[in-house]
């Protein structure tokens, strides 16, 4: 064991690497600052205007962000199309709804059960289908979404078609949001406290958690399986396990969003979990940018707030979303804010001219590249630009 492996020195780079960009306009730092500003803005907002309406729609919008970030793991990172994602939200909402109203647990105490229920649901549905062709998953998840909704509609314990009402808001060891809180002479009502809870805990977990997961070992495994499962298996990644992990983690996030929604609405019913809502969350992820944190946030905000801001629009939105999906896939498959986008005014690393080498090129390489999926082509084009826009 004492034998030490002799390491070979790394080969010298053929070209000088350009220095890293610095300053406030460096892409990574700029995005972090932007996120901080938005976060502080959202924190301050209730001090500026706290009408129940604004607080209510913003809370809903933030829950949509949590939901969309969860679906982003499944669709954006792992490349699995889930058409019944709202079913996990239903599992979460119903689990905490039943446990709080019928067994007297507090919202916090239901979280382990919600996670457990979502893992079980994720394994039941992902386990058999992830071994199969990827597009079977799309329909099976759709069928699963319907099964969950119909089951919730038919059972007594879920309250049948009228669902569960009177779900309490969150409480922690005897102290509940509904008690309100006075800090420095300012009274925070239950809705405002819940708003902050979703902002700090929900958004924090969803956005920071998911984007860091995406950058970690598991996240890189997801992306490699998405781009080419055979090659990544050759690299020692277990494709099936990796996909199942993505599916389960997505399920847990969806369930968490469900408990938040149950606490927010105080009443849930099966028709809040129809296929339409699965499609809506999918649209948020796809139109915003699959695998891109800022993109998904923009998409979720758009999908949840647009019908509030434009009342006339709510009649037309599904037609518009349908057309947008087709157009986006053809002309801008990576969404409004692609995963590796860099705002135009930010500094970029300049790519030096590649000196000619004496390596003989492969004949027709460019033709073959043209055959590759556009994502792979784009990867090649941007691989020298460091700094993902996350």
């Amino acid at each position: 064991m004492a034998h030490k492996i002799q390491r070979l020195p790394a080969p010298k780079p053929t070209i000088e690497r350009p220095p890293a960009v610095s300053g406030i306009l460096a892409p990574e730092r700029f995005m972090k600052m932007l996120a901080l500003v938005l976060f502080v803005g959202a924190t301050v907002l209730p001090f500026i205007t706290a009408t129940p309406y604004i607080i209510s729609i913003l809370t809903t919008a933030m829950i949509y962000i949590v939901l969309a970030m969860g679906l982003n793991v499944v669709v954006g990172y792992a490349g699995l199309l889930d058409l019944g994602y709202i079913a996990f939200m239903a599992v979460g909402a119903y689990t905490s709804g039943i446990l709080t109203t019928q067994f007297g647990l507090s919202m916090l105490e239901t979280i382990p059960f919600v996670v457990l229920a979502c893992i079980v649901a994720g394994v039941i549905i992902g386990g058999p289908t992830l071994r199969l062709r990827s597009d079977y998953l799309a329909i099976v998840t759709l069928g699963f979404g319907e099964i969950i909704r119909i089951t919730a509609n038919n059972l007594k314990v879920t309250g049948g078609p009228s669902g569960i009402h009177g779900i309490p808001t969150w409480s922690f060891f005897g102290w509940s949001f509904s008690d309100g809180l006075d800090i420095a002479g300012i009274h925070f009502g239950p809705k405002i406290l819940f708003y902050y809870f979703v902002l700090f805990v929900g958004i924090g977990l969803a956005v920071v958690g998911v984007s860091r997961l995406g950058k970690g070992k598991l996240g890189r495994a997801w992306k490699s399986v998405r781009d080419d499962e055979d090659v990544s298996e050759a690299m020692g990644i277990n494709g099936y396990k990796t996909k199942l992990m993505a599916y389960i983690i997505g399920a847990i996030w969806g369930g968490f969003a469900g408990t938040l929604m149950a606490g927010h609405l105080s009443a849930i019913s099966p028709n809040s979990f129809e296929f339409l809502y699965s499609a809506l969350v999918l649209m948020a992820v796809v139109l915003g940018g699959m695998g891109s944190t800022p993109g998904v946030i923009i998409g979720a905000l758009f999908v949840s707030l647009a019908p509030e801001l434009l009342r006339e629009f709510s009649e037309w939105r599904f037609l518009l979303f349908g057309v947008l999906l087709v157009v986006a896939m053809i002309f801008r498959p990576k969404g409004i804010w692609p995963a590796n986008a860099v705002l135009p005014f930010l500094k970029k690393r300049t790519i030096p001219e590649v000196p000619p080498t004496d390596v003989i090129g492969v004949v027709g390489l460019d033709d073959e590249l043209a055959e590759l999926p556009s994502e792979a082509r784009d990867l090649r084009d941007t691989r020298d630009e460091k700094g993902e826009g996350q």
Binding site: F144, I150, W316, F318
Partner: protein, 297 residues
């Protein structure tokens, strides 16, 4: 008992007609055409419009007029299917499968909600309704329209089978299903054959839509959603990509639902059908008649 079987076979023949188009498109370009059920819906609405014009010209509708309308609608939905393939699917043929699937969802939404914006959300009453006194056969009630519709479905399926198995173009389709690049090298006009596949599949869905509208009497913009799901289930049960499999799967699913509803109650009907889909995918993913499919990379 015989009544249950008869009901199952009748509903199943609708599933089979829609499943055929699903299965054909999937077999040839490996695309799950999510909008296929909506072509069924579109067929019924087109027939509604065409019939409106016809009854204005020739007075009240009758069976021959309905058959004529059926033909016109099949041509129209077929044409729309080709158009959809051309506009939405062809540009993405070399893209990752996820992109094509999402586009298909987008097309489905576009069709559904465009129809909703034009015709409204409430169901419309179809101008022709096929009614007839039931005849008792072995204790089951069978009506004339049911027999006619099943006959039409059977004729359409027979013609399709002849076309695919015994014609030059059918052979081209089967060749593309096996290996698209190789058939291109052998001189098959791949684009044209794929267009033709979409035409036939969509026309069959449209035909099923017209027949369902004439039999049940109402049409609405979401009527294709459930049947699209069921048709996919039927295609998987029979073996996706397999012509006979789609027909068999449709009938089997119809029978399963008929018996399931009888023994479990109507509210569990869809759970039963989708539960079977998942069970089949776990234990026999290739379906009853399907062959082992290797995922193409």
């Amino acid at each position: 008992m015989f009544q249950l079987i008869w009901n199952g076979l009748f509903v199943g023949s609708f599933y089979a007609l829609v499943a055929l188009g699903y299965s054909m498109v999937y077999g040839i370009i490996k695309l799950l055409n999510f909008a296929h059920g909506d072509l069924y819906m579109l067929g019924s609405f087109l027939a509604f419009v065409v019939l409106g014009g016809f009854t204005g010209l020739f007075g009240l509708g009758s069976i021959p007029i309905l058959l004529l309308v059926l033909l016109i609608t099949m041509l129209l939905t077929g044409g729309i299917g080709v158009l959809i393939e051309r506009v939405a699917y062809r540009p993405l043929r070399s893209s990752p499968r996820l992109a094509a699937l999402i586009t298909a969802v987008g097309v489905s939404f576009t069709l559904e909600y465009a129809v909703r914006q034009i015709f409204g959300a409430s169901p419309l009453v179809f101008p022709i309704r096929l009614q007839g006194a039931p005849i008792e056969v072995l204790g089951a009630r069978i009506t004339m329209p049911q027999l006619i519709l099943m006959l039409v479905a059977a004729v359409l399926m027979f013609l399709l089978q002849r076309y695919i198995m015994h014609s030059r173009e059918g052979r081209a389709m089967r060749a593309i299903a096996l290996d698209q690049k190789a058939s291109l090298l052998m001189g098959v006009n791949v684009n044209r054959v794929i267009s033709r596949t979409f035409f036939i599949g969509s026309a069959l869905a449209g035909a099923a839509g017209v027949m369902a509208a004439a039999y049940y009497g109402t049409i609405d913009f979401l009527m294709g959603f459930v049947i699209g799901l069921k048709a996919f289930t039927a295609a998987v049960i029979g073996g996706i990509g397999n012509l006979y499999g789609a027909m068999l799967g449709g009938l089997v699913l119809g029978l399963l639902e008929s018996f399931g509803t009888h023994f479990l109650g109507g509210q569990w009907r869809d759970v039963f059908a989708f539960g079977f889909l998942i069970l089949f995918l776990v234990f026999k993913p290739t379906g009853i008649l399907g062959e082992r499919v290797v995922e193409r990379v």
